[in-house]
Symmetry: D2
Subunit: 342 residues, 4 copies
């Protein structure tokens, strides 16, 4: 019963098999291989427009490299105070940008609003004494398992663009968002005004495969220099690209994400019927945030359940984060509910 | 007949198989897994002392993170003018260190000497107007396929340490060096005074697996922060560690390196008998640098040979770099010699 | 009636005269001159212990260089959300440190508390995923014209040190704090646990003279490299040092600060008697923050008063920042009160 | 007899007087004052076109900020191996740019040639593995007291621009160059293709006053953010601007430079007649580089002469650097020659 993170599981068998196939023969290194070209074409097809796509191996690299590309050293990135870039990347964006400022904003369910952005910008009225607002960054699905609607994204994009800023989307769990929304990837990104996407595959079945996707290739003019300079250009790139190829093939990425989403929905539905449990945030993707009585949490752990205390215990209960992954066994959900309700 | 780089080949079947095995079940992420612990223990056993070992996925990351750990932002790294860190990493060390200076030194066969270091240091006599000499970095095997002896390394270490500097070894081809020298890894590193090693596996059969190894763990106190901050902490770390585990198992790494070295030796021996060919540097590891008549080079390429022009054509001949890898077919060497000599 | 900033006035005549005297003859450059040595000795005498003192020309340089010295690139600086380093230096600390994170904390009257620090640290429990808490930075006098007591500073220092952090004090208005508290500079700094001070003279009568002061000289071991590397080592340093010499001579710095403090106290006292005015923060140094009715603010400006709207107009009144400086004419205070009360 | 540096002397009386005048009354801070506007207009008039001009207080700041503006973090700056930015600024450009590479080129008399640039660029043929060549930087007058002709500058500019690079001129001794050449400042800069100039006043009579001058203001769009972020925006900016105003007034800057140049010429002429002395580089500005017999150098020092050993003693003689400054007494030259020839 491992609900601790989507990183806890290994990799999809199809992706592992793709790695073995990709190993045959010789290939050009550093991304000049045929598999990488194939993935680039896949990405443009997937997003229904020409995109600039750069495979990397961590989400932090994708986020920080995109932000460094869009935000100058003297710039500011506006983001939610709970966002991964704000609190879980050891200030990587500050390093990659050369010292830009991440401005932390509040917002319910880990979501930004145009109002919060407008209010923050009023604090940037003193010229060069404040960094230059350059990027708005949102996470989809969010760190609290919630989703932005295409309309909400469009509203944020309009606000960002009106102030000369770009809109970045951290899509570490973009698959879960697309699967949940049931709309085209384009609808959730550039059609709504997103300029660049950190597109994740690792959490949803790859070994280590993420991608920086720019919807306006001009923005990415020099991205390849930054990737190399930060040590993120993989010499045997075909091994990253092969993961992407297998991930996107036949809609596999949406099937695995749908599996995780469905388990989360079932888990939330079950928990909400158990006395003393309170669902803390809307369950819209593959994570459930729920207040559990301390005794219930202890009982679950004693029976082998693994999960993360999102907030420490207060008033006799703890907020648990329960993440369902592409490979989470359905039986684990049933067993978790059984122990919780016992 | 692909001699263009050791990156041109895929991965060892045993390493691919290890990845598939590593995928089973759940595991702690970000390096807190059992496989990563096993590799750490393997490394200490291999080097006959406790080392601090940090798996990463590129040699540039290993080099730049080690240099940033050992060299302050206001420091200088003394290295050969042809070294990978000097000319092939898009100035990654300058970025990771926060602006340290790489001081390029000359030396035959891509090797540094204590004399060159002493001479360079005489230019750093003006206090804070020059950066603070902090690290000497050497490559083993070198970018020209040559080797340092343990005695040469000890001489460089003594020089570095006498001036308060650390000694770093870029071991992207460390396996080839150890296999060629036939001595223990410890003899080529800490016993000779090396403080930190960029230990490569990618070029010798891994998909993407390198490691930063510190022989004095105190030096590495904060390395893990730097790795995370630069996006080089892999979430499903077991997939990097599993490559290392299979690489080091049963001496596989030395067998594959010995294969590559043997082919290079055979290639050099054969070429040296062909009129008009001149071996440019001692062939001590897995690369041959040879002056080939332009016509011969053209003929080889017409017949499918791939190799890199290390120096552009001059006086009717070109300096070719011919790299043999862990998976280079022995027959390719024979065929190359046949075409060259025809 | 210029209350807009302590930067609005020029320089003390004694400091200007000192510059002219310092210009005579030749001197060693880059700080190796006799005047700079004299100032170093003065500083140690002033603080009643050996300190390491580095003159610079801006407060941002002093702050950012000290923070870069005490906080690694992967570190975090805990500071008040209204502090100058947080909002008025274009993220200079992030740049100088190489990407450290400034963690903004709340606190009444722009003051930090040990409780706020302890609470923030609870969010840094996930190892390398968060930057390493390294420095607590406070401002004395604060950006809201308030003061820490020696006991409050000692409490913050104890908290910082217990967590392995250093305590930095931004003393752009340190003179006003010392003059107001009436205690020795040592009491407000190292005796209370402060590790490093940004000591300002510019706002209080110098042309451009600040200093980084380290109370434990070992901490400052490499500060001089950082100062040079950031372009802040002045070639004709005697011209910065001469300002410091004249500033500290005969207690001049405390006399000018006391003048500014007294005017602020008089201004606050007068304003507090005027209907519709509300003093927003305790007036403990040389600045008054007061809510003024919009009409009163407009009338004052129409009559030539200059001041900064700290907060925009709301509910018919605006929060004005009124700063008194070393050279503010006493008559301006009387006239301001007269117009305000008319 | 102080010939050690142009920094050894204080400041011109007229500039000191200007500081005292500038101190009167209140003024807007951070460069929004009337004196700074006046200097901006003076600069445009001086260069016969609209320029963007940013006063700073050190040459290192001017150089590093300009380079960071023109060269991305992943870029390369091509410069002479003896240039100040290469060897005397503690790698400030590497820091300000965020890790760009300075590529050191050889060239007689500290001067670059288009040939040297073309040859260096041939080493940058491997795409992102090398940093992107972005700026050529030259020094006028050079670190060896020599000058570029307008034609030489035009040749370098043509070469730089043809490769998509900008041309920067380090003009710490620009006054000496203009005075020596006797042509308009525009002829030595933008008319010859220079994009940005570090314009120095400190060495030639100011206390601390330099300026970054961009001849195409668009290039400088965000320079002001970088200046603030690096702590180089002076709060009481009028005190820097007043130095510039007095410096440029009535051609004072060219008179003082001409004085220094004339003394250097006289010194060189005298030395060249003394047996055993050899002038090492053409004396075209205010510095003389001369080989002096060791005994002569010792005798001069015993009699109070101060100068810098540019190269250490070899074969019984030392290369002395003898710098004449705006305030060097003419009698000192005579006395130096007398002692040297005795």
């Amino acid at each position: 019963m491992n609900f601790i993170s989507d990183n806890a599981y290994g990799a999809s068998p199809e992706i592992l098999a793709a790695l073995a196939r990709a190993s045959d023969g010789t290939a050009a290194s550093y991304g000049d291989d045929a598999m990488t070209a194939k993935v680039a074409a896949r990405m443009s097809a997937l997003f229904e427009r020409e995109v600039a796509c750069f495979p990397v191996v961590t989400g932090t690299a994708a986020n920080a490299l995109i932000l460094a590309t869009l935000c100058p050293p003297f710039g500011a990135v506006l983001c939610h105070e709970k966002s991964h870039i704000a609190v879980d990347e050891c200030a990587a964006p500050e390093f990659f940008t050369g010292g830009a400022k991440l401005v932390h904003l509040e917002g319910a369910d880990a979501k930004l609003t145009p109002e919060a952005i407008e209010q923050a910008l009023r604090g940037f009225s003193s010229g060069v004494h404040s960094p230059k607002p350059s990027v708005v960054s949102i996470t989809q699905a969010t760190e609290l398992g919630t989703l932005y609607t295409p309309g909400e994204i469009a509203g944020l994009a309009a606000c960002a663009h009106a102030h000369g800023m770009k809109l970045h989307m951290d899509g570490a769990r973009f698959a879960n968002a697309v699967a949940a929304r049931g709309c085209a990837p384009a609808e959730l990104t550039w059609k709504a005004g997103v300029d660049a996407l950190s597109f994740g595959a690792t959490k949803n079945g790859a070994l280590m495969a993420e991608a920086a996707v720019f919807f306006h290739p001009d923005d990415a003019r020099d991205f390849d220099y930054r990737r190399k300079k930060s040590g993120h250009l993989i010499s045997k790139m075909r091994f990253v690209s092969a993961q992407w190829d297998a991930y996107l093939e036949d809609g596999r990425w949406l099937q695995t994400a749908a599996h995780a989403n469905a388990l989360a929905a079932r888990l939330a539905a079950g928990l909400s019927k158990i006395a003393g449990v309170e669902i803390a945030h809307p369950v819209e993707a593959n994570a459930v945030f729920a207040w559990l009585p301390d005794a219930m949490a202890a009982r679950l752990r004693a029976r082998g359940a693994k999960f993360y205390d999102w907030l420490p215990s207060q008033d006799g209960r703890v907020m648990a984060r329960l993440v369902c992954a592409f490979a989470t066994p359905e039986a684990d959900v049933g067993r978790f509910l059984e122990v919780a309700g016992s």
